[in-house]
Symmetry: C2
Subunit: 258 residues, 2 copies
């Protein structure tokens, strides 16, 4: 059982998206695709004469922005990806967190920054996803959630992928769940300028050592913290890499243990 997350580096380039969908559509057995938003939401915001609001690289979701991300993530990107997978013979079905109550969230509490209608995930419904998979359907999840009271919320796509992987693993502990993050590097890198320097495998102890040595820094840390949380919660493995790495069975494999 494979969960693949694709982000802006794929969604912004038609050729890269086509290659990623070829790879995903050909995966054997049950699979779930999670997509982010890419640049399109910012383009639509600009086309409507608004300013994208970001703080530290994170989008501030006011009411007008929520409408646009709901349109772009839930409508434009999700429906086109579903249609593209149908064309590849994969019977895809698009889901926001509201659909089938797949992912319940709460509006992020305001501390120093008010992120607006940003959703923090409370949990994904693994049983629903298995029910759809058992029916031969391939869920395609967009990063829009809801709070169960009629409020849609904008949610980080990595978090959707992570929580979904945890939920399907918990719902069927006998299944081996592989969560794959397709990003812009061949893996977690010793040296970001040397494409050969990817780390084949990380366990909690080696991860701690790399962090202590300053090899793993910045934005990789929350990503890897989430990955280790997923394997601790029952996900079999998390693999991080670019599309060629994933296709070749390479990338950085994050596993449990010590």
């Amino acid at each position: 059982m494979i969960i693949l997350k694709i982000g802006g580096n794929i969604l912004n380039k038609p050729d890269a998206l086509a290659a990623a969908l070829d790879y995903f559509a050909a995966l054997e057995g049950p699979a779930v695709l999670v997509h982010g938003g890419g640049r399109k939401a910012s383009e639509v915001i600009a086309a409507m004469g608004m300013e994208p609001k970001m703080i530290d690289g994170r989008r501030i979701t006011d009411a007008a922005t929520l409408e646009i991300v709901t349109m772009v993530y839930g409508g434009l990107i999700n429906k086109q990806v579903v249609a593209d997978l149908q064309a590849r013979g994969r019977n895809a079905i698009g889901l926001s967190g509201a659909d089938g109550n797949a992912v319940l969230a709460e509006k992020r509490p305001v501390k120093t920054i008010d992120y607006g209608f940003a959703g923090d995930v409370l949990g994904a419904d693994g049983s629903l996803l298995w029910q759809l998979l058992d029916a031969g359907l391939t869920p395609v999840m967009c990063p829009i959630t809801h709070n169960g009271k009629g409020q849609l919320l904008n949610t980080n796509a990595d978090t959707i992928a992570n929580e979904t992987a945890i939920a399907v693993a918990r719902a069927r502990p006998e299944e081996q769940v592989s969560l794959r993050y397709c990003f812009e590097f061949p893996g977690v890198m010793h040296d970001i300028k040397d494409p050969e320097s990817w780390i084949p495998e990380l366990q909690p102890s080696s991860y701690a050592a790399f962090k202590a040595a300053g090899t793993i820094v910045g934005g990789m840390i929350p990503k890897l913290d989430n990955a280790f949380a997923a394997v601790a919660a029952g996900v079999g493995e998390v693999i991080i890499g670019d599309l060629p790495a994933l296709q070749a069975g390479k990338g950085t494999r994050i596993i449990g243990g010590s």
Copy 2:
């Protein structure tokens, strides 16, 4: 088994939409909601500095317009309605025609008018809809379809409702399917200015007589032709009325026979 279609007269007014969703959410047994697009697509088109293109009241769907209707119908309206139904305790799941291959269409052939990416429905998948309904899910369908080759298409929501009703009736002939069109009048009217003049029941013979007498004219004729096609194809009844009429078990009931 009830299929309810709501259009612009409901979607454009928050109070009317809330009342229609209250009615729909409280329906007993399996139900499917089909929604149109309302004015929102034209608003977004205008906000992006484009001109809505219409000929004889029908939208011309060029590539940019297709992007916008996909965003508005498949994203904004569909996800908000799903979230609103979740808030009412109904486990809704949004579907375009691409999702689960629910509604397959073909691009409308160009005759005198090129409608662009307008989709003529080839058929809906009644088995898929029953599968979702049996799983306790309530499909919410937007008027975006696909051609199975990766092309999304803009489709008339009345047609989606009609074809869906026919497909679920064919997939389970033992079920009584009731197709309900929520529109702006209490029913098909003798006199459009007299709200008491609604016709309680139409059969093919009385419909022919009303048409011959000039009582039923204009835009009601394609709507009723579709309704009679649905009952001829196995749908138990079609009811046309406004929300108060539907709530009161009134409206014009279209049935088969002679």
